[in-house]
Symmetry: C2
Subunit: 212 residues, 2 copies
């Protein structure tokens, strides 16, 4: 390895180390709590080193959102894609989401719930990145509903966007109430409601798959 390669590799390692911590901090205290000085102190790095990697607080916030999307994709979207398109994949997606929230992949619960509430009424690049992440997630749920309809597993008249909205509402609220009250009953309620919604939308003779 050349000296330059070594420096790049060290830089990447430090970047990953910093981002592992920033997604944690942001999920509990919000993206505004991310400062170069605090991270340098916590991780025993030089302030100029952290600054050289991220450039500004805003860049640090944007990189943190990208890292959260990467983790979320790996924990929820990718495993759901292993189930074939249809009602089974839709149900699996919801179950993986509830598990992602309940197991506190991020210590403050769903990363995006906090980021949304923090930046929803503001403007700027961080707001735009949060909007994009939420839009991508809603669109992903809608696509998964649409696949199930195309596969003939949902009634032909199913309102795809309406069903997707209701599923997202149940998931997000389970997360919000569970984190706020530090207890798990909201996950059970969300699961009951989602199963009922999917049974109501299922084409005749298509059963809701059992959980593994």
């Amino acid at each position: 390895m050349t000296r330059v390669d070594g420096r790049v590799e060290r830089g990447n390692r430090t970047r990953r180390l910093v981002l592992r911590r920033t997604v944690e901090i942001a999920s509990v205290e919000g993206l505004e709590a991310l400062t170069v000085g605090r991270l340098a102190a916590e991780l025993e790095l030089s302030k100029s080193g952290v600054f050289a990697l991220f450039g500004s607080k805003q860049e640090l916030q944007l990189a943190t959102i990208r890292e959260a999307v990467r983790i979320y994709t790996e924990r929820v979207l990718r495993p759901a894609a292993e189930t074939p398109p249809g009602l089974g994949r839709l149900w699996r997606l919801c179950e993986l989401w509830l598990e992602y929230s309940r197991s506190r992949v991020f210590p403050g619960g769903c990363f995006f719930y906090g980021a949304m509430a923090e930046f929803d009424a503001r403007t700027g690049p961080v707001h735009d990145a949060v909007v994009r992440a939420q839009r991508d997630w809603s669109a992903h749920v809608e696509r998964t509903v649409e696949e199930a309809r195309t596969a003939g597993e949902l009634r032909a008249g199913t309102d795809v966007a309406q069903l997707a909205f209701e599923l997202v509402a149940l998931l997000e609220t389970a997360n919000a109430l569970s984190v706020l009250h530090d207890e798990e009953s909201a996950y059970g309620r969300a699961r009951v409601a989602i199963a009922e919604r999917l049974r109501g939308a299922a084409a005749e003779g298509v059963p809701l798959p059992q959980s593994p």
Copy 2:
């Protein structure tokens, strides 16, 4: 009016003036954005005057939450209580809530949504006040569902807590998505879903009341 009365009255006036501004700031930027210095500068008051009225940043945050509860009670809970107990009051409560969010009584949308996300994973008196406000709201919805059941307007087997959870999920998510994407379609989706849920739970022959 004696001199002391005059001073008390002036203090109360200033207090109301400060709190009118703090609920606005907190609903957009969060409760952490409330500082005595900023408020004094914005409202052209002396820092020591604001400090004398609230004592600390935390007291200012707690007073702001109480003020938001007062406004919320006046805009949502009190007018809903004018409709007699039953399915009509439950439906009215949901409609008033959607209108409270849509009309931006607080410029950042539902005050409590933002406060919940900001303080959910923390500890301390502000967290506790937010938890209490959310619990009170959930309990209020549950009571309103229970009243409707007792009045014989919901099926006897209705799971009160489950229905309340689903209604709260639809309301809160309509607020969150509408503020984030700055558009109103989520309110329509929430209304459709709530009407469907209430029709599904209504006792035989009890119609969902029309909106005024």
